[in-house]
């Protein structure tokens, strides 16, 4: 046919193949991603005096709270790891995951006004959330390093091992899970807002199903598998094993499970997201 010969740059049709992620388009909009990251980061501490230092305050205060409640009142074991380092490591990692999940889950509802006026690959927005939180995580990890050095120099039983080389993998897994679950929720909430309420306290509750305030080793054998289902478990455990060593377990098999789970969840997420981004303006 004649039409087949003409080459069109873009064909807008009702239903496009659902798995197509236009990587080329994403790459073309990479500057937008960076500018979104910059916007998120810069706008947070505009008109503040302390600026980015605020990123330290939240984990420090949370650590302090946990130290008092779980460490001194409830007296939950930390496997012999200095309590401050134990809580801080859990909090920093958990915060990153929780923040990614919650922010990406608002992708469509929070950006409806922009999405309604301009087209750009919608995935840019959740990707920028994951990236800008990475900067925050970096700053908070610096804080952790500071505390770690203090304990190391004062002779506490901490040491770093080769596991630290897995840090990029851990970051990737965390970002991936936050992103994947986030886009699933954001896609589903465009039409039915019910999930939004679940996310708000669900994330809080989920923290208690992750070894943030307790070590995995203190979980009774019978329930361990439930905690291990949580992708954050192996991430936090591996991180603690690499930099705090004592007590925490490191089992590569859980990381493999984690990566496999990520592939599944991410596929589902991209599938739904692709489907929703074409029509969400009519339902949001």
């Amino acid at each position: 046919m004649n039409e087949e010969k003409e080459n069109w740059d873009l064909v807008i049709k009702p239903k496009q193949s659902m798995f197509s992620i236009d990587l080329k388009a994403l790459w073309r909009y990479r500057d937008l991603l960076l500018l979104f990251v910059k916007r998120d980061f810069v706008s947070v501490y505009k008109q503040t005096i302390l600026g980015p230092i605020w990123f330290f305050v939240q984990p420090i205060l949370t650590t302090l709270t946990f130290l008092i409640i779980f460490g001194n009142i409830a007296k939950i074991s930390t496997d012999g790891i200095p309590k401050v380092l134990f809580y801080l490591s859990g909090i920093v990692l958990w915060n990153y995951f929780a923040e990614c999940l919650m922010k990406t889950s608002e992708t469509f509802t929070a950006n409806a006004n922009i999405f309604g006026k301009v087209y750009f690959p919608r995935l840019i927005v959740p990707l920028s959330v994951v990236t800008s939180n990475l900067i925050r995580l970096g700053i908070q990890l610096l804080l952790f390093v500071g505390f770690w050095l203090y304990f190391y120099l004062t002779g506490a039983a901490v040491e770093v091992n080769a596991g630290i080389l897995l840090l990029p993998v851990l970051l990737l897994l965390m970002a991936g899970h936050g992103f994947a679950f986030g886009i699933i929720i954001s896609s589903l909430t465009t039409k039915y807002r019910d999930l939004k309420f679940l996310v708000q306290f669900g994330v809080q509750l989920l923290m208690y199903a992750s070894p943030v305030v307790y070590p995995l080793s203190s979980v009774p054998e019978k329930y361990k598998w439930i905690i291990l289902m949580n992708p954050m478990t192996s991430i936090i455990e591996t991180f603690r094993y690499s930099v705090l060593k004592s007590g925490s377990s490191f089992e590569p098999v859980y990381l493999v499970y984690n990566a496999a789970a990520l592939v599944v969840v991410l596929s589902i997420g991209l599938f739904i997201f692709n489907k929703v981004e074409k029509s969400f303006m009519d339902t949001v």
Partner: protein, 419 residues
């Protein structure tokens, strides 16, 4: 041979009316069930033509249906239609904001849509930061923006405030900055919604000029506006959309004239008006006459014209006032006349009566004008009919001029003397 850059085929877009709730969940499930069994979507067949004024039986409407057109490179297409006709939906589909229900659009080249100016401006960021952000949202790369940054700032005229957060800007400055960024986009195809309706006159003219430049550079533009003058100045081709369907396609002048003609069909005698008011008193007729008492739908600039309103009383009222607003084709109010201005009191114990109002030496510049009529008492409206009659003002050969510059609205008689 001209290159076709946009090809729209059988495009349709369906919307569901009412709220999204549990009812929609059952629709969704039904849809999925049909899909699983490989059957056609059961809701594609229903759906009525989109006519706002009529309450249809179905709660699914076609906001767009069977739209077909092609556009060649370098053409400027004006999309005309009444409010709610489907113009904006069409733009949204073309700019990929929402996907069509059926049909397809094929596009050659990079497409950029300007449905709003300043999309994504962040109030806390400075003008400079927002130029980059907004530019990137519209599809420019950082280096493109950087190379045009000075031009953008100059065009916007806000260089003094460029390092101030935009939350301190006036709304006009915000719009200027937004349009300045958009104006420096260089896509092959540009889609523009009525962004010209904002900003002051000087800036509007700047925008129109810029759009003219764009089209002269051989780029393709799709433009939606209610400003028929701007349409005729800018566009080469026009399409008219009515109730979601393509009503006409052709030369812009033909389409604009046809559209103004449609507005004429709504003239009083057709009786097809959307009225508002409590109906205690109704306009039963309204027409224009010339000095000789003959019905008229046009006049020579500078002559007198008479408005004739026939009123009918349906209920007890305490007083009756009448007023008229005359608007030009762009919808701008040119003048307003009311009986209170002349201390003319209208009797209120009538059954029917005819009012005749003389407008002397009407010096509106040549254009099409629309008259809206109002009757009521204080804030109580008995009957309001928007744009119920229209008339043409024709150039007066005695005035020695054909062109009225600077888009002036009204002419004033002047007497010149040398002292």
């Amino acid at each position: 041979m001209p290159v076709t850059v946009i090809k729209v085929e059988n495009l349709g877009k369906q919307y569901r009316l009412g709220q999204i709730g549990t009812g929609t969940l059952s629709h969704d499930l039904n849809r999925t069930w049909h899909k699983i069994r490989g059957k056609e979507d059961p809701y594609l067949k229903v759906g009525v033509v989109n006519d706002r004024t009529e309450k249809g039986g179905s709660n699914i409407v076609w906001a767009l249906k069977d739209i077909n057109f092609q556009l060649n490179q370098g053409e400027v297409l004006g999309i005309i239609g009444k409010n709610g006709a489907g113009k904006s939906t069409l733009l949204k589909v073309l700019s990929q904001i929402t996907s069509p229900t059926v049909g397809s659009v094929k596009v050659k080249g990079r497409i950029a849509a300007l449905l709003e100016v300043g999309t994504g401006f962040h109030p806390e960021l400075t003008g400079r930061e927002n130029i980059f952000l907004n530019g990137a949202i519209l599809g420019m790369t950082k280096s493109e923006i950087r190379s045009k940054f000075d031009e953008i700032v100059e065009f916007s005229g806000v260089d003094k405030y460029i390092d101030t957060p935009v939350k301190r800007y006036s709304s006009g400055m915000m719009v200027r900055l937004g349009f300045a960024v958009a104006a420096h986009l260089e896509p092959e195809i540009l889609i523009v919604d009525e962004v010209l309706a904002v900003g002051d006159l000087e800036f509007q003219k700047k925008c129109l000029g810029k759009m003219k430049d764009v089209s002269e550079q051989g780029r393709t533009v799709l433009f939606v506006s209610h400003n028929m003058n701007a349409m005729q100045q800018l566009c080469t081709k026009g399409i008219l959309i009515s109730n979601g369907q393509l009503a006409m396609e052709g030369q812009i002048d033909k389409v604009v004239n046809h559209y103004i003609g449609i507005a004429k069909q709504g003239s009083f005698s057709s009786g097809n008006h959307a009225r508002r008011g409590n109906k205690s008193v109704l306009f039963s007729d309204f027409y224009l006459t010339d000095a000789n008492g003959n019905k008229a739908d046009s006049m020579i600039m500078g002559s007198d014209i008479y408005l004739n309103a026939v009123l009918e009383r349906r209920a007890e009222v305490k007083s009756v006032d009448v007023s008229f607003t005359i608007r030009n084709a762009m919808g701008e109010a040119i003048t307003h006349v009311q009986n209170m201005d002349n201390d003319f009191s209208i009797p209120y114990d009538f059954n029917t009566m005819t009012l005749r109002i003389k407008l002397s030496s009407v010096l509106f510049v040549p254009d099409t004008y629309f008259i809206s009529v109002w009757t009521g008492c204080n804030s109580d409206a008995y009957d309001i009919i928007e744009n119920c009659v229209h008339f043409e003002v024709m150039n007066n050969p005695d005035f020695n001029r054909i062109i009225y510059p600077h888009n002036i609205k009204v002419f004033v008689n002047s007497e010149w003397a040398l002292l």
